[in-house]
């Protein structure tokens, strides 16, 4: 690619100039390439991490999970192929009625502040997850929410979890950082606010790194936990290998700055980078010294347009169908992501383990004629001066509400949809507002407001049970306001079953239901990209979400 060639020639001249800058006595700390095993810099966008999301038990943000994974361990580790590995729990047994789980805990684990990890410490953590002031936004519901009956130390190193009803995804969710273990001494002494604000004294876990410095909105500094000897088997490295001493996570909101940091050697790993930058890198993957990209397809719900049935526009199924057929998702996704990604066809991403229904691919694609017919059928026959359809004086308009930050790719997709719908006389208006304002128009103290016709999101989840949150009549995230008893039954049944094939057949029916009734229109499967300088970073691994794991990383500081 032409651009990077000039970049490289520039870099050599830049190096020359940089040295002269040093000669000019520009006071500077040593360049960031430290001795082998030394320091590695990871640049991230940071989102709302600094806004009280440093407590995994209360936060629902991905950024909390993949940064704090370095400090907090989980009971079990989920491999890429869906099997579970011992971690803090050496072994575990599930009762006949799927309601009782007993774990045998390792006996050699200590927290960073020296306190011992035992069953009592684990129970203290589960109590904290369900405590009211924690106001847990993800951890509690991932343990089954009201189904969770309680945790009990049935032995000094034996933990027993009880459920009111069977909950299939329990083990999967136990492997996430949201259910990490915080030192009981901290849980007893620190206030919930302090926990959410985070910092070296409160962010204390058992993980491979200790948080030694935290400057909100700027950086987190993790130093190696020398005592760490309980990594899951697939992550462990022979202790002959010199592992990373320090991991510096820098928060850089401006994407071009993150990309610039990587190319100018200031950082070794970068995440939250746009698809366009990824395409650039993929194109020059062959040249040496280039940057490696690890793109993992996120399981769970793809990025979709959520249609709100509660408001008049989309109450009529024909209008919902017309909306779906009236937007050329395939061409739009190609325009934005080029070869990088295919459009999503179903309510679940293809990478969702034992749940995805491939038969939906190709169905309900772009069909403007059919869409126009449906709209005429639904009574939107007259047209006003601007060419939009009108029914008894009211124009056919849908309000699409998103929350900031709203990246360039999503804006382009929405622009294409606006243009497509205009062709069939359907007006689409889009607005992206601040997180606080979005929340105010989404829900208030006593329930959903949903002041919009369409909103948009995608939720990564290792288990298809995420759909229960979104499609069940009592689901916390049911923005479509769907209330179909048959669907509720299917969702409940899938949650209680544990055999993968049985759950898969039920989830296929659920995906067929959505394709038919259009609760939400799948657009493109979410991905998580991690950029790194291959020659500099050895042993970087990824979990099932595609989030980077630094347990076994050696860093050899290439010039």
């Amino acid at each position: 690619m032409q651009r990077s060639a000039t970049r490289r020639s520039l870099r050599t001249t830049a190096a020359a100039i940089a040295t002269t800058a040093l000669l000019l006595g520009a006071a500077g700390c040593a360049p960031d390439q430290a001795a082998p095993g030394g320091e590695l810099v990871w640049v991230i966008e940071g989102g709302n991490l600094a806004n009280g999301h440093m407590d995994p038990h209360s936060s629902q943000l991905d950024v909390s999970a993949y940064t704090l994974r370095n400090v907090y361990d989980s009971l079990v580790f989920l491999n890429a192929d869906g099997t579970f590995e011992p971690w803090l729990a050496t072994e575990w047994a599930v009762s006949e009625d799927q309601r009782t789980y007993t774990f045998q805990l390792r006996q050699d684990v200590t927290f960073h502040d020296g306190t011992r990890f035992d069953a009592a410490a684990a129970v203290r953590n589960f109590e904290h997850i369900f405590a009211p002031e924690t106001a847990s936004a993800q951890a509690a519901s991932s343990l089954g929410g009201e189904r969770f009956a309680g945790a009990e130390a049935t032995g000094e190193f034996e933990l027993t979890l009880r459920l009111k009803d069977p909950f299939g995804p329990l083990l999967t969710n136990l492997s996430t950082a949201f259910v990490g273990f915080i030192s009981p001494k901290v849980l007893d002494s620190a206030s919930q606010d302090a926990l959410r604000a985070g910092g070296p004294e409160v962010t204390v876990g058992t993980g491979p790194f200790k948080l030694t410095e935290y400057v909100p909105n700027q950086r987190l500094v993790f130093d190696r936990n020398e005592a760490y000897a309980w990594a899951p088997a697939s992550l462990a490295q022979p202790n002959s290998v010199r592992l990373l001493d320090r991991l510096v996570v820098r928060i850089v909101p401006e994407e071009s700055a993150r990309y610039g940091a990587l190319t100018s050697g200031q950082a070794q790993v970068a995440t939250d980078v746009s698809q366009f930058t990824v395409d650039q890198l993929m194109a020059q993957a062959d040249q040496p010294q280039s940057i490696a990209v690890n793109v993992s397809k996120s399981p769970g719900m793809p990025y979709s347009a959520i249609l709100n049935w509660g408001r008049d526009v989309f109450a009529d199924e024909r209008v919902r169908d017309a909306f779906r057929l009236g937007i050329n998702v395939e061409e739009a996704v190609f325009g934005v992501y080029r070869t990088g990604r295919q459009r999503a066809w179903s309510a679940l991403s293809p990478s969702t383990p034992n749940a995805y229904d491939a038969s939906l691919e190709g169905k309900y694609g772009y069909d403007p004629a059919r869409a126009e017919a449906l709209l005429d059928e639904a009574g939107w026959t007259e047209r006003d001066a601007d060419g939009y359809r009108v029914k008894n004086g009211k124009r056919l308009t849908a309000e699409w509400l998103s929350w900031l930050p709203f990246d360039d790719e999503k804006r382009a997709l929405v622009n294409f949809f606006i243009a497509d719908l205009k062709e069939i006389g359907f007006e689409l208006r889009h607005e992206a507002v601040e997180g606080g304002e979005y929340q105010a128009r989404y829900a208030d103290g006593n329930g959903m407001i949903l002041d919009f016709d369409i909103t948009d999101w995608g939720f990564a989840s290792l288990d298809a049970d995420i759909l229960r949150n979104h499609l069940h009549s009592k689901g916390r995230q049911n923005a479509s306001q769907v209330a179909d008893p048959a669907l509720d039954a299917l969702l409940g049944q899938a949650a209680t079953l544990s055999a993968p094939e049985e759950r898969a057949t039920i989830y296929r029916q659920i995906q067929q239901w959505n394709a038919e009734h259009v609760a939400y229109v799948p657009i493109v499967p979410s991905t998580f990209e991690v950029l790194q300088i291959p020659s500099g970073v050895l042993g970087l691994q990824y979990d099932a979400y595609g989030w980077p794991l630094f347990h076994g990383v050696q860093y050899h500081g290439v010039g």
């Binding site: 700390c29 993800q138 610039g260």
Partner: protein, 327 residues
């Protein structure tokens, strides 16, 4: 009917009585400004839609109503508005600037961390701007150089700060790599942001300084000085620059406020720490405690700047030292 050459014989330098009275008046005016600013900020944020609890929880939080009520109570958000207002005013006087909703930590800590970066950037940018302005105005009094500089100044003033910052960043930081995008030593981190802020400032101050020098050239003393054998540049350094300086210094004082605003843009483009980003997040996130602290900080800076400017003007123009406030 007034005579042009008033005859003032032997009035002494500012007498102590008048000095204290002037200072007293200035302090009371400053207190009024601060009170006005704080109240305005409180009203603004009270009027802004969106519930602070939502901000704290972030989008899609599935926290239960009891949890929300608990947070509201802990932060005193359930108090009547006027009580919150009095608290918001009273607390800073006792040195307690409250805790930021967003970052859940004392505002004083946030300010202490971020203040030095922004102040350093502002001071360096202002110094750079003054140097460029004086250089441009003083050395190009006549001829083709003057026309060129007079053409460039409106361009410098018109260039949007963030556009300038983006272009500088993409050319010198990502492109040529002269200055690291992040990290690097403090000096390297300061160069591009300071230039981005200094250019529009230098344009404005340069124009003002040139008008001041032209005006001074038309005064009778300038002709007398040239009649003593002074050349064009000599006239500037020995006479007219001092005359033009007081007007420019006053404008520089008012532009310092603009500079803090500009910092918001520059800090986000260069990923620099600083109050600019804090202010932006606080306003967008309706983080009342932080905004109130920032308002008071801006008020104090404004008062300090006006005092400094008055002192400088008094130094530059001894006439203002003679009693009476030069309204």
């Amino acid at each position: 009917m007034t005579r042009t050459t008033a005859q003032r014989v032997g009035s002494r330098f500012l007498r102590p009585g008048a000095l204290w009275r002037a200072l007293g008046r200035r302090i009371s005016a400053a207190a009024l400004v601060l009170w006005g600013a704080a109240s305005l900020a409180f009203l603004v944020l009270a009027a802004v839609p969106g519930d602070p609890v939502d901000i704290m929880l972030g989008p899609h939080s599935t926290a239960s109503p009891e949890a929300r009520a608990d947070i509201r109570e802990r932060w005193g958000l359930n108090l009547p508005l006027w009580q919150q207002y009095l608290l918001a005013l009273w607390r800073p006087l006792t040195g307690d600037f409250g805790i930021s909703y967003q970052q859940q930590r004392p505002v004083t800590a946030i300010l202490a961390e971020q203040l030095p970066h922004t102040l350093l950037l502002a001071v360096v940018a202002m110094a750079l701007a003054i140097a460029i302005a004086v250089g441009a105005a003083a050395f190009t009094r006549r001829g083709i150089f003057r026309s060129i500089v007079q053409l460039l100044e409106p361009v410098a003033v018109a260039a949007p700060t963030f556009w300038l910052a983006l272009t500088l960043a993409s050319v010198f930081s990502y492109g040529l790599g002269w200055f690291p995008a992040i990290g690097g030593n403090p000096v390297q981190q300061l160069v591009l942001p300071a230039i981005a802020l200094a250019v529009p400032l230098a344009g404005t101050l340069g124009q003002l300084l040139r008008d001041g020098l032209d005006e001074a050239d038309r005064q009778p003393f300038a002709e007398t000085a040239r009649a003593r054998g002074l050349g064009t540049v000599g006239l500037v350094w020995r006479h007219t620059l001092r005359h033009a300086a007081s007007g420019t210094v006053t404008m520089a004082g008012t532009l310092f406020g603009w500079l803090l605003g500009g910092a918001v843009l520059v800090e986000s483009v260069f990923a620099r720490p600083g109050l600019g980003r804090v202010a932006l997040d606080a306003i967008m996130g309706r983080d009342l405690q932080v905004v109130m602290a920032l308002v008071l900080f801006a008020g104090v800076v404004f008062v300090i700047i006006t005092l400094v400017v008055d002192a400088l003007v008094a130094f530059l123009d001894p006439r203002t030292r003679r009693g009476g406030d030069r309204a």
